[in-house]
Symmetry: C3
Subunit: 430 residues, 3 copies
């Protein structure tokens, strides 16, 4: 956990992102199915198909959207915009269209970013039947007056919302929830990085003896988490902690956004890990904008689910654009995110409270070999201090994480001390 | 509320201060009666007369004091000190005197400020029968040895304590208390500015549909609030929040001193307003010195009443002296104080808690026209963020002000968002 | 209390330290007995002897150790190390030994501090039967190869653990505990300074009319407090507050380490005193390393006992070495520590809560002579502010110390104001 993260994991994640990058995903449709099928090569996902029209709280599962082709040709018949060049060129959920129109008529349906003239923005149009194209501002500026031919060969029809789920049972029915969104087309950081990290965490969970159960969700943003919550209300009461994973591959420092509760054990664990990593980090209070924590932390659920990112959504200029590409995410950052998240999850896994068997005074550590023999030193070894902290604060109330926080030392040191004291019969589980 | 305060209100307040300035007020007597009579031209005050000798808690309503003339003449018969030049020249509550005496005999009864030699101090002598004069130190230094003739043509006799009260009933019997003291002679900031602001707030309340009831008190300091509290103990339980208004016309930044409770809704509302005004401000903890909040916040009442000033009492060199004159207060500052106080009061008026009708996940704002159509943006509009905050935190516990504070956005934005959600049937009053 | 501490007390403490300095103390044995016998000349200590083998919680009272002589001679018969030069030369609790051995064989039993080559370290070996010597690194480096003769003329045999106790009954059975350790040989700051301060506090308690009872303990570190706690469990419930005194004579600023509770009245009192002294000071959170507060604050007891030092253990380079000598402690620092501790203890002694007899509004202080006659001043006198604070906050909940802390004024001013209000019949004990 504290050793340098194996870069190999980061490289495998980057490779997975590269494989998934070309697929044209949206919140429904075959792009999601292809993506989940690839992931099944790594983790035994269950694929759920929820039919169009299914009511999910205030929402209804939308029609399924698929696009085969989308382009704009100029009067000379030359391709000016072409979906095959970038999946971002078509506004997601565009209805089918085939028509000729002047640039003036077409112009309101063309989206670009004047301040970033080289890149293609990412735009969606899920819940209003309409169509449009995205392109770089330079290309837009270069378009001459005259007639254009427009084609969007898409279907928007009854079908299903598709999501993937992987459940790894542990000794306890209490669950850790790891959730990512898999609905964005060719965007690497937001959020193929989250998909790759969730996949690797799933692989890891499959190989370990775990106390807690783990649930990994690969869902379309917003409607996916709403759908899962609507279909699994009973299961939510077992969620002991969770993380939404997004934007975990860029070069920025790690950021943890607390759950709505603000003092859930996942919040304390994440803050503890980030504070002790010795590199810049950011711990932020909950806000109801962001990713699927918006749904998990709605007042009717109020789940202990935070959001782990590097640079948060909307805070990097490449966000939701063609600049969020394979070069924008690095194996180093992905490996570092993997290391931080596994460390957070391990704290939730290992944290508990103990009580001293005889809480009167300190026990004699020296005769148990837990204390340096020749006394008189100015400072204790770190492990001795950790032993004293666990002995002093184990009154059934404070957890090991509480002790680590009060002592200002790393959880792993406290956990190790507790194990020594357990094996000596000096403490017992509370 | 958030628009620039109408300077016209400030000018009207300054005009009212100028009209009241020449009157020689004290804690009892005709000066107060004349003052309240003038105010009745603006608001329909009820005038209360509480007889001398009435016991009010640990105190007794004192004798009534009136002064017709007060002067000191030198041996040549020239007026050296003259009440007609300034109402500050006589120590308030001086007993009648007419006598000749040497400068040495007179000297202990002459009060000046050596460090501010041009200005006349304001001194009172309410609860000890005595007499004296106040004058500038320069004038004092110029007095030659020799005999002086002294005249204070005053009466100190059974009468009444006079105060004004204006009650505006609202839908709810719960009250907002606005209190000012009207016992100082020719002093503009302390506290004719408070008298003028209270008057304008009374006029405003008379013209609005209000949920809460409003009570405006124009009382002599200390003995006035004690008298009102003694006579209205039952009414105090209906006070939901209140402000003592004083020193609201000088050029200093606005200051709010919290109630003794420190976390009353008036305290949160005032701190919220001050923090969001974008100009320097001061929020201070309660202390038992100051104005009539000393009585409202005595432990037996412990009312949620704070004190709103610009520069607090005793913190400006012009305090309690002839330098606190009509030039020391400005229409701009008076208008700004009016704007801030009305904003605070409106928060108390409008603040309440709501609950989501279906608290599971977010409702679909898009189909209700509350969410921007084409998605993918990095940032939400302010109103969209406010909608998400209200939806996320409306669980019956948090009030709109709590939500505004947690979200770090202005109450008015949160209030507006709640109104939209109410009209959509997404929340209901808790 | 607030006047300059009488240097005479500090000089008496320094004198006492000098008298006790040469005695070779350990956690048991005649050194402790001689030390306590000397202290009996100052305070009527009860001497307790707890037999070797007595079980005390997880520990057993160890064998008694005494040493008559200890030396190392070189091949020429010259004394290289000699207990008569310094009591630090022998590792405390060394078993008897008399043998010849080479420098190579002897070397692992010789302890020095290479980084501080002139001083002799202090080392102990209480709970493992072994032997060794301490010496300066310079002397160690000067030892030539060859054979050495070693002698430790000690006994380690059944006997007793000796400690001193002085109890001064007060009106109330509630106790203040003052504890110091008396087990170190010739070390001045750690902890003959604590022994001297505890002695002087005992003398002071004997001469005063006290509300609380006082218990002064002179005990060997760790095993002494464990033994006392094991033998006096019932008494611990009467401990209202306590201080472990150690390292109170060096030139560093005063340090208070809070009890495990962190918010006990002793913690507030100590922080209050330190904050108001106008000199640098340190208030620290509890940690389970240090002195006997480790035992008093073990979870089964959790007593309100903090630790008062100047420079804490291990934070000065002279710690546990021959450099902690009579020059390292000063009469000035000792007197200053005495002043601070007596001030802390007096707050615990005098602190209580009051209630206003008539809590409605302020009482009329003027007619009781408690308020300056001629009003209109910008600022009140300190005593008038203290009167207003006590009147405002005396609702039975807040103690005088709470009031002093909220008001930001010194406890003694608040205590004085409460006395005036008591004598006027305006407040009564809660």
């Amino acid at each position: 956990m504290l050793s340098a993260p194996p870069l190999a994991v980061g490289e495998a994640m980057h490779q997975l992102i590269a494989e998934l990058f070309p697929i044209c995903r949206s919140i429904t449709g075959d792009g999601v199915r292809q993506t989940l099928a690839r992931l099944q090569e790594h983790v035994p996902l269950t694929i759920h198909e929820v039919p169009t029209g299914t009511p999910v709280f205030d929402w209804i599962v939308p029609k399924e959207w698929n696009v085969r082709d989308a382009w704009v040709k100029n009067a000379r018949g030359e391709l000016v915009i072409d979906l095959r060049q970038s999946t971002l060129h078509v506004v997601s959920y565009s209805v089918p269209v085939r028509r000729r129109l002047s640039l003036a008529e077409l112009r309101p349906r063309l989206h670009s970013i004047p301040g970033q003239p080289d890149i293609i923005p990412y735009r969606t149009n899920y819940y209003r039947e309409d169509w449009g194209f995205c392109l770089s501002h330079n290309r837009l500026e270069a378009m001459e007056d005259g007639e254009y031919e427009v084609c969007i060969d898409s279907t928007l029809a009854p079908g299903a919302l598709t999501y993937g789920e992987y459940f790894v049972p542990g000794v306890s029915p209490e669950e850790i929830l790891i959730s990512c969104h898999c609905c964005h087309p060719s965007l690497a950081n937001d959020n193929l990085s989250g998909v790759a990290l969730t996949t690797m965490l799933g692989r890891r969970a499959a190989t370990q003896r775990l106390l807690l159960s783990y649930r990994f969700l690969f869902i379309p943003a917003t409607i996916g988490s709403i759908t899962w919550l609507a279909c699994n209300q009973a299961a939510t009461t077992r969620i002991k902690g969770g993380l939404v994973l997004s934007c975990v591959g860029d070069r920025g420092p790690v950021t943890y956004k607390k759950s709505r509760r603000g003092d859930a054990s996942i919040d304390h664990a994440a803050a503890h890990v980030l504070r002790h990593r010795g590199v810049p980090e950011r711990v932020r209070d909950f806000a109801p904008y962001g990713h699927d924590e918006r749904q998990y932390c709605s007042p009717g659920f109020n789940l202990p689910v935070g959001c782990f990112t590097r640079t948060p959504n909307g805070e990097f200029p490449e966000y939701h654009s063609s600049a969020d590409d394979l070069d924008f995410v690095t194996a180093e950052s992905l490996a570092d995110s993997y290391a931080a998240v596994t460390e957070i999850v391990e704290i939730i896994e290992q944290n508990r409270s103990y009580v001293r068997l005889n809480p009167m005074c300190e026990p004699q550590l020296g005769r148990r070999g837990l204390y340096h023999g020749l006394a008189g030193r100015a400072q204790l070894a770190d492990v001795e201090m950790a032993l004293l902290w666990v002995l002093n604060l184990s009154d059934g109330g404070a957890s090991l994480l509480d002790i680590a926080e009060r002592a200002g030392i790393h959880f792993s040191l406290v956990r190790g001390a507790a194990d020594m004291l357990l094996s000596e019969g000096l403490i017992r589980a509370a």
